[in-house]
Amino acid sequence: MESTTKETTLLVEGALRQTNQMKKPRNFRWFTPSLYIFFLMLPIYWLVNMSFKTNQEILSKFTLIPENPTLSNYVVIFSDPSWYNGYINSIIYVVMNTVISISVALPAAYAFSRYRFLGDKHMFFWLLSNRMAPAAVFVLPFFQLYSSFGLIDTHIAVALAHCLFNVPLAVWILEGFMSGIPKEIDETAYIDGYSFPKFFIKVFTPLIASGIGVAAFFCFMFSWVELLIARTLTTVDAKPIAAIMTRTVGASGVDWGVLAAAGVLTIIPGALVIYFVRNYIAKGFALGRV
């Protein structure tokens, strides 16, 4: 009896070894992802390439790398207030929005992850429906709402307007992270005599630090990439970089080099932070549900 089990184990091991050996020689798995990444990088490469060329070179010849690499396009952006103010404006309202979203979403997400209460499911659904709402529907009413408060062309108007989709996003993502924390931790803390605010700040927040980071990243990003609402609510003083770029496209005799440089600069913030949240990208996009 014993020998048969031994035989089977040997057989199994042999089979495993065989399949392992069979797999080794034809390992072309890297091909598909590499091809895909090549496809992704091509347009970005072209943008970066153009940003280091003079406008003359862009229009006159076709070169795969800049003949006389120049930083003049970037100099234009960093020395012209109408360009660099766009970045400052974008960053101001995006940061404001992220801070507001996270601070109101934290307690709410806790409530959703720990308690059942009257209308909780409806409320959760209603939040999601706002995350999914088409911005085009809200453009005109937002304009009227904020102009009646005299808030047009201020950073806070855009920050508040972006809360429409970022607060629900933050609540959902944070709820996803919080539900992964066992409830016993809360109960133990209460038995140990922690009050709710003290528990929340001292014990709970450190536990979901990565969740907060991920939620903040996604709030930042979705506010950063949005154009329609931001453009409608601003005219001069709070105009985001995205809107300034669109304006330049419409003008005659576009300075392609500067436009490309401006585009490259908008990619940088995301590219810098992405490494730190790389393992949570899927979770963030799936609103904490993966």
Partner: protein, 293 residues
């Protein structure tokens, strides 16, 4: 997780409720208000009932925009979902290439939407763009701003470029959560690659795939910025999707009544899909609590 019933939890939700109500309920009420009234200019409004709704629902313009939008969503889903699965399956599972792949693939997702439009606008131009220039050199007649087919192809390729990574990353998250023991068992049984995919990987990816599917549908259904920057809705009206048409009507022509009625119909469609999404997401959350690892 079993939750206790406690209505005091509302106190924690109130700030969110107020903030989102400010930016959702008040604007929607304005829209409802416009959708049932007409104006002769100034601030004089009068009641027209459901007239705008019947107008909009019968208008060819609305049908066309909706049709274009549905066609667009259908095409990009048909491309992005299978492509995303294929790429996720061939991605490395461990080693130094994992973070490299993840970061590079996520890059298009983080680019502002109008910059995505700009990138492709430049990329596709015959005089200065790599793609346009290559096409011209090869002798292919390609011009996204005058040819309808070219415009559609460019927008679809742009969307595939922009969003396939989302599907890849979601599927990948589903794949890495499959325990190694499953694959070993399959190897012992001598399962083919296809049956490993069909009976292990696909069922395990089901949850994330549904999420990816719905997310891609919703986002492509409200697409605005990218085609707006690339083609401006043209040539003609061939790439005027719902959002573009709506903004044209509301801000360009200031036809508040029809625009408001269209907004509500649009919002209603979104709500419906959203409900499906919500039900699915709630279920995914409950039957797979261990996916985190």
């Amino acid at each position: 997780m079993d939750k206790t019933y406690n209505n005091k939890a509302w106190l924690l939700v109130i700030p969110v409720f107020l903030l989102v109500a400010l930016s959702a309920i008040i604007p929607i009420m304005t829209v409802v208000n416009y959708s049932v009234q007409d104006t002769f200019g100034g601030n004089k409004f009068f009641w027209v009932g459901t007239e705008w709704f019947t107008d909009v629902l019968r208008s060819e313009r609305f049908h066309d925009a909706l049709g274009r939008n549905l066609l667009f969503s259908f095409i990009i889903l048909c491309i992005e979902i299978p492509l995303g699965i294929l790429i996720a399956l061939s991605m490395p599972k461990k080693g130094i290439w994992v973070p490299v792949c993840l970061v590079l693939m996520a890059l298009p997702l983080l680019i502002p939407w109008n910059v995505v439009g700009t990138i492709w606008q430049i990329f596709g131009r015959a005089d200065i763009g790599l793609l346009g220039h290559t096409m011209a050199t090869l002798g292919i007649d390609y011009n996204y701003s005058s040819n309808v087919i070219d415009a559609w192809v460019t927008i679809i390729v742009m969307d595939v470029w922009h969003w396939t990574s989302l599907v890849v990353l979601l599927c990948y998250a589903g794949l890495v959560s499959i325990p190694e023991a499953y694959y070993q068992a399959a190897r012992i049984d001598g399962a083919s690659k296809w049956s490993v995919f069909r009976y292990i990987q696909l069922p395990k990816m089901q949850g994330v795939l549904i999420i990816a599917f719905l997310l891609r549908f919703m986002d492509s259904f409200m697409i605005y910025t990218e085609p707006f920057v690339l083609t401006g809705g043209g040539p003609g009206n061939s790439t005027t999707f719902m959002s573009i048409d709506l903004v044209k009507q509301a801000i360009g022509q200031f036809d508040l009544g029809p625009a408001a009625a269209m907004s509500l119909v649009y919002q209603l469609i979104v709500l419906l899909v959203c409900y499906v999404f919500f039900t699915v997401m709630s279920n995914v959350g409950t039957d797979k609590p261990e996916v985190e690892e």
